[in-house]
């Protein structure tokens, strides 16, 4: 039996069931989404074990063979993302149970949440570029509506901006896909790679490349395509912010970008240069901007842009070591950034504010939130021995190894900046000022166990994440993902052969 389609079927089915039962059974949304994401998480581990043995799982839907059929492909690179998506989604779903109590129609929230998960899973396993685009739109549209879920002026404005800019990005992509189809006469990504390789140089490829870089760069929120992100990620409901910053920008942006440029087009020096340029601008500008923020979530949002810059830098430098650093950083970032957003929600719940100037000090009020926040902050700042330290170290070393010491220096300097703005925020968050204690009625309110558990789990994960660098168990997980990108177009030839 082939498990691959279930990554999309399960969340879609659950998303379909929730509206049917949601009005009658109050907790339908909670139960269905936790059940669905839990089984997805288990499934992703199962499939990870299978891919490790077989290298790529291919499922031709309805037994139609490509190019007529639509294949779903899980290789080392996809499974790397599938595990991240589904584990984080599961933890966020648990966290949401308590968080959504502030809304009336909670089932709508969970429907959209599962749609987003389905869309992301679809992007990752899709073997043809048009389906990738469709799934990407599903996830993005679910994202637009979830950002607006608070339905106040700010949330609506943020959602509107996000939707408009997202739509612009999507139209770039669609145009690019259409041109590419006319050029390669196939939508199947593996065949497309072969066809492009066979045809040689053409004026259309750079044009499509620019469209894709802009479109996916917008989804990944690289500067200057980032302007939607600070609003969207800070005004969204906190669990959604965690999903957006932790997963969505990486799946829709980084995954799709690297799949297309490494495996279909093949990396060229120009694309590599553009990626590095975007990365450096993102890292520097976003971290400088983060210094000026007083809202916790807005600060986290800017830091996401900056950290995506690190990932893009690693991909742009384009050596096996740098790609490994980039993917490892992506892995770490999805863990600690979702953790930090969940913390922000818990802090808001316990203290009644997200304003850094009015923090009463969470350590004294809720030690669980305090310690997990400390671990998350230490990890993103690159304080050893946490995951973020090792991934930044690898990226810096990879730049030096690739004879780009200037880039390495920038990466190191931005790491110092990151430390600066995070501890500028963490110091009031953790220790705060006693004068703000007791102003708000919420203060001292205990956070629910369903909120504490996911935070604790993510904190433990960010301590243990370095283990995937170990040989045997971990390296095949990370190593397979790296291998797919390193092999580039050659990998797709292998897939193309295996599909038939």
């Amino acid at each position: 039996m082939n498990f691959v389609p279930f990554f999309v079927i399960l969340p879609l089915a659950a998303a379909f069931l929730i509206p049917l039962t949601g009005k009658k059974i109050k907790i339908a949304g909670e139960v269905a989404s936790i059940a669905a994401t839990l089984s997805l998480a288990v499934l992703s581990f199962l499939v990870a074990a299978l891919t490790a043995a077989q290298k790529a799982l291919i499922c031709n839907i309805g037994k139609w063979i490509a190019p007529a059929g639509i294949p779903m492909i899980v290789d080392g690179f996809s499974i790397f993302f599938l595990v991240i998506i589904n584990v984080i989604a599961f933890l966020v779903a648990i966290y949401s149970v308590d968080y959504v109590k502030r809304y009336t129609d909670t089932w709508k929230f969970f429907t959209l949440f599962l749609l987003m998960v389905a869309g992301m899973n679809g992007v990752v396993i899709s073997g043809d570029i048009f389906n990738l685009y469709v799934c990407l739109e599903i996830a993005a549209i679910a994202g637009y509506s979830l950002v607006a879920f608070d339905v106040d002026a700010e949330a609506l404005e943020a959602s509107f901006k996000y939707a408009v800019m997202g739509a612009v990005g999507s139209s770039f992509m669609l145009l690019g896909i259409a041109l590419l189809y006319s050029y390669a006469s196939t939508l199947n990504m593996a065949d497309m790679a072969l066809s492009i390789a066979g045809k040689g140089a053409s004026k259309i490829l750079p044009f499509v490349s620019a469209l894709f870089l802009a479109g996916f760069g917008l989804k990944a929120a690289l500067v200057p395509f980032h302007a939607w992100l600070p609003d969207a990620h800070s005004k969204a409901p906190t669990p959604v912010s965690a999903m957006l910053s932790g997963l969505l920008i990486k799946v829709l942006g980084v995954y799709a970008l690297s799949r297309i440029f490494f495996n279909i087009f093949g990396m060229t020096p120009q694309v590599s240069m553009i990626l590095i340029g975007l990365a450096v601008i993102s890292m520097v500008v976003a971290s400088v901007l983060a210094f000026g923020q007083t809202d916790i979530k807005r600060l986290l949002a800017y830091s996401s842009i900056s950290q995506i810059g690190y990932i893009a830098l690693g991909l742009g430098v384009c050596t096996p070591l740098s790609i490994m650093g980039a993917l490892f950083h992506l892995f770490n970032h999805s863990i600690f950034k979702s953790l930090l957003f969940l913390n922000a929600g818990a802090i808001e719940q316990s203290t009644g504010t997200r304003d850094l100037r009015k923090m009463p000090g969470i350590m004294a009020i809720s030690p669980v939130t305090g310690y997990t926040n400390l671990i998350g902050t230490m990890s993103i700042c690159g304080i050893p021995p946490l995951g973020g330290f090792w991934s930044k170290l690898i990226i810096i070393f990879a730049c030096i190894q690739a004879d780009r010491p200037i880039l390495a220096f920038i990466a190191a300097a931005v790491s110092a900046l990151t430390l600066g703005y995070y501890f500028k925020a963490a110091t009031p968050i953790l220790f705060g000022s006693k004068e703000y204690r007791g102003i708000n009625n919420n203060i001292g309110k205990r956070i629910a166990i369903t909120m504490a558990l996911p935070m604790a789990a993510l904190a433990v994960l960010s301590i243990l994440s370095v283990l995937i660098l170990l040989p045997d168990t971990g390296r095949s997980f990370l190593g397979d993902a790296v291998a797919v990108l390193v092999r580039g177009r050659e990998w797709n030839s292998a897939i193309s052969g295996a599909m038939r």
Partner: protein
Amino acid sequence: MNLLANFLAYVVFIPIVIGILCLFISEKLKILTKTLVFITTLIILAASAHIFIFKPMYWPPVQTPAFMADNLSALAGIGISFFAFLTALYSFGFIEKNNGRYFGYVLMALGSSLGAVFANNLIVLVAFWGFLAALLYLLVSIQGRQRAPESAKKALIMIGGTDALMIFAIGLIWKMTGTFAMDAIRINLNGVFPYAAFIFMAIASFAKAGAVPFHSWLPDVAEDGPASVTAYLPASLDKLLGIYLLARVSLNLFVMNSASNLALLSVGAITIIFAVGIALVQHDFKRLLGYHAVSQVGYMIIGIGTANPVGIAGGLFHMLNNAIYKSCLFLSAGAVEKRTHTSDLAKLGGLAKYMPITFVSFLIASLSISGIPPLNGFVSKWMIYQGIIELGNNKNPLWILWLVCAMFGSALTIASFMKLLHAVFLGRPSDASLKLKEAGISMTAPIIILASVCIIFGVFAFAVPLRLLIMPAIGREALTYIGIWSPGIATSLISVGIILGGLIYMALIPKRERLVGLFVGGEDPEALERVSGAEFYDTVKDVKILGSMYEKEARHAFDIYDISRKSLEVFTKFFQRLHNGVLPAYLVWCLLGMIAMFIILFLK
């Protein structure tokens, strides 16, 4: 394979594991925490002594071991364990709440410091090194004043920021040599990469040890943090680590040349003079000590910068001595603060009567830091002077400048400690009704031990510390000196002098004394009755150049942290103004970005 054959693995990981354990011990069981901490630090001290005797040691037993104890690291290791033990002892009486967290962090700091000095792999080194910075942050903000978290943040950002540069430097070293094993690295200083790597490694060690211009976190932490933490980390462990790394970098990893030595000498000289100048006018007990902690680093850096055996030995000896007397000073300050609840010099005074043990120990330590013979601070400074003079013998034209800086700094140190001694222990108490008493035994014991070590290391300098600790560390049997200093004769002469003076004083002491009111000729008597000493040297501010310097210092104009913060603010404001929330503007950026990419892709 016998993995646990020697102590190296134990001394690093046992304190860390037990430290993590301590975090989870409830406050009610604090006696258990304290017992655990006492036993652990004692065992680690014994194990470090063992390592020192049986060095060199390697662990794990493979081709390129991650940990190595050689002469230099074993010296730093034994120092670290010694100070951890004393700090733990002192803290039993000093720390009131959050025992589990505090002692947990203390043990973890011990483990990671040992990990950093015994590391034979640059990545292992930087991992422990960076973790220690985070522990400093946690320890300072756990207890202390309202502003403590802010100062802790400053320390973490400065140290952590330079750590990032150190990672970059390690990357460069790896590129040049292809290895991370420290015992296999030997780089000649020529070309951009070697210089960049050397500079960034040196900067990391400067920030840790607190040398100008990366010093500004230290006085803040000293002022706001708990005294036990200041004595433990900035005053001893961070010094040992910073100078250890500097010595390692300049003695082993790189082949120094005259330019790099000149750089070290200038940093050292500037550090001495600048910090001690600022210290003169401080009004806070602990902040003043903090500036001295900066100033003393200059001597160690000069010692290493002289690049001759006497100077280096002097620098390393000074590193050890400084940690001894400086923690003694900070621990005494903590005892005073514990009893009086203030460290403002204007509010202190006359404590010698109430706290005689603290006073005598503080006196010894402050004479030692001022370089008064026959105490240990004198011996190491003497050796550093010898090193500088030897520079002169080798036709180095600037030697006289370094010598003047070092000696003048020493004079200013005496001056500022006269002020401190008067303001805290002598003179009249600000509130005579206070019934103060000596701090508890667990707090006075470490202070007494440290003060005695100051005397022993001074009087028996050649027989004990130099022969047993320092000479093995630089791998030499004996040193040749230009000047001769014989502590034995000097000590006897000084003792005779003191006894004679005492006898004369006793003989001439008035039989009866009477107290009369002050005749003030119409002035406000309150203002004249008490001379607190806090303003002793405020007149230096009247000198024009110095006055504006002091005024700029007070505005943090020389603080690299504040300078960077302010210049960043300009950029932040600029970018924030660009983000005006207008959607069409954002879309124009996207378009411009895309056009730029088109151009790059088509033109290339």
